[in-house]
Amino acid sequence: MTVLAVGAVAAPVAAAATQTADATSSEICDPTSGLPLPSIPSMFEPASPPAADIEALTWLLLGICAAIFVVVQAALVHAIVKYRAGRAAVDRDGVPGEPRQVYGSNPVELAWTVIPIVIVFVLAMTSVRLIRDIERTSPPEGALAVTVIGHQWWWEYRYPELGIVTANELVVPANRPVWLELHSADVNHSWWVPQLSGKKDCIPGHTNVLWFEAERPGVFLGQCAEYCGTQHANMLLRVEARDDAGFDAWVRGQQSPPASDDDEEVLRGREVFLALACQACHDIAGVSEGAFGPNLTHLMSRSTIGAGVAPLDRDTLRQWIDDPQTLKPGCNMPSLELDDAQLDAVVAYLATLR
């Protein structure tokens, strides 16, 4: 039985390792941004110093624990096999007599008290040291500051130095540290992109900080890791690390006002947006000032909708506005029951927000 358990440990870990190895060899590219997309965005493919440190630590820990596991289970299996009573002895009447009674042994018990103490002492010191190495209390030099605000069930990102407000997709420059300040607008959330760093909770009334530095351009995926209500499962995270030129272009795009379009349907869509409840929740620079839902000023610069629940295109946008509850049941955006003409107009308007 225990031999099986040993195999059970080794096989999946090896399989996981092979899978991650495959991921690096066959890179897939994100359709909208063209950035490389890993097949398994896990902590075993770190792309940032904190995540790399933790990955190294993980293999060390797995190694130590596997060694202890093997020693203990081997002792157990040995005892089971060697000291198992024969069939005759199972019958109570046939017991030939009791084995020698051993009440304890001071040297042996001392050994299996002291050796574990030494092991956990070393582990505790490693833990203390790595906490200090990874957790920073002040921003790294030259870091880009971003404020993260968790909402039920989407992410708001503010770049105070750049005057940018966006939602759900964090765009950062590669090879430059990023300093996140984590807040929540409602309940607890947790920001977790395994390839970039460990997770950190977003707690109302409590400011947390987290840093990472993407070592290469790419798309890094994660999701909210603290249960936050109905749609916790679809509170997805997406970080795009771009090269300097790409990031500068993105910043310029976000800082410019959305292009205006004089198309009749677009204007009608804008009227619908302002006349109905849309504007009460959504902020569009120069148009509306809602703060409850995601900022839509440059909606179409993003590649997903509903905090990652679907890829963003005109079809999903229309479906979303028609009834968000089909794509993300329980989310806080209601269906406004627009007729087809209104839907077409609103979609036409939102599609101009690039």
Binding site: P12, I54, A89, P99, A124, S127, H206, L221
Partner: protein
Amino acid sequence: MTTLPTTPAETVADRRAEPLSARLHLWAITVDHKRLGIMYVLSGLVFFLVGGLEASAMRAQLARPGNDLVSPEVFNQLFTMHGTTMVFLVGMPVLLGMGNYLIPLMIGARDMAFPRLNAFGFWLFLFGGLLLYYSYIGAQGLYGTSAAPDVGWFAYAPLTDRTFSRGNSTDYWILGIMVSGFGSIATGANLVATILCMRCRGMTLMRMPLMAWMMLVVGVLVLTALGPLTAAQVMLLFDRNLGAHFFDPQEGGSAILWQHFFWFFGHPEVYILILPAFGFVSEIVPTFSRKVIFGYPLMVAATVGIGFISLSVWAHHMFAVGLGPVLDAFFSAMTFMIAVPTGIKIFNWIGTMWGGRIRFASPMLFATGFVAMFVIGGLTGIMLAMVPFDWQVSDSYFVVGHFHYVLFGGTIFAIFGALHYWYPKAVGRMLNETIAKWSFWLLFAGFNLTFFPMHISGLLGMPRRIYTFQPDRGLELWNLLSTAGVPLQAAGVLLIVWNLLRSHRKGAIAGNDPWDAWTLEWATTSPPPEHNFDEPPTVGSRRPLWDLKHPEDPDGRYE
């Protein structure tokens, strides 16, 4: 010197002659620790089946990504009720109930110290549990529908605030658990008083069975840990219903305060759930290895040590909260430290088996399975104490795998071992050994198939408590395997239930001491008479029945 009076045969036949209503009435008004213990275990097992059904529904939903078998709302209720049920309505009552049944017999007492308080505690637990489940019918959730609580078993603020949890399902969670918690506090006090004051002549503290030591520490932990939870629940009730703001950050309260309160209860709670299991295994392993427990004094010291250290490790549930490097380091170190006494226990059990003559009857199978599985849960626990690693896997399926190895592979396996071991004592008949072995192997295979892959899905980035998972993240296979283990486990559990039911009538007659064991409970009849022993026994060592069976070589001279 050990003296053991004989007890007259039970008057079972007389009782069977009475009408059913009279017999049920006797159960309802009883203050007998044995009847209360049996009722604890039976109601705990019923809740176990309910909690298992909830888990099965969750695994069915997570068999593949994007499944829509249950809605997000229902899924969130399922994991909340599953966790709450398994901790408060299965683990606690079954373990405290077994303590209730066994402790007076093991220490040679007539009953618990406070029999009426004992009955009060049981009925509070049962009605607390029923109140929680009444939420499925009576609570109001969103849109006027009925709703079970959906805030998770640790009910983090401010999700529990009226703003985010409308209706009254969260109030059902608070009240159900609070009521059953009062029952647990009563039982905890009773256990401590019984063990300290009711031991028979000759049974010094250092001659108690290890199980009694474990239950003593459990009693102290219940008294220490349940109070803060109850207090926090009262505050939460005030927040929700009287406009207080203890946990409401928008009005100056603190959301993190709830986490401290909850885990100050929640971590000792883990040891409340595992120490009795250690106790069962410490009784079963010597009996079936035919050897005295190895290193009794060190086992006692390790138990007491765990009791103390378990009160200062709670914030290891909160490494991602951002408590700062100093607190993170402290709780990390304390958590590593608790691994030492826990390791000692594992080594001492293996030391007991070493050189023995091991019979693998069903109780020993479960006990050995416990040791093997608990080692895995303990090692992943050590990994989780490493703070930076925890930052990655905290709140992921790695943690779900970890604590199921501790609480299912650990506690539940030990409970099943204990059921197979003491069922003959409580019922007077043996369980069917063939069925028992089938149920063990089915459970063992199904358990590992379900819970081992969870470590991997967690390492690959799957958070817990999500009703669906993303298809592009390498999680499909591991989730499918986890689901595939469910039917095996269900078959194992149903076989056990069937065995318990059928052996009640059909099992072979057990006799007083079917396992050739050494502790006092095997000296009386099976089932024991209402007063346990005709005359209070006197013991001269840790193994009074060994002394009787081997007068030429009594234990006392080695202790």
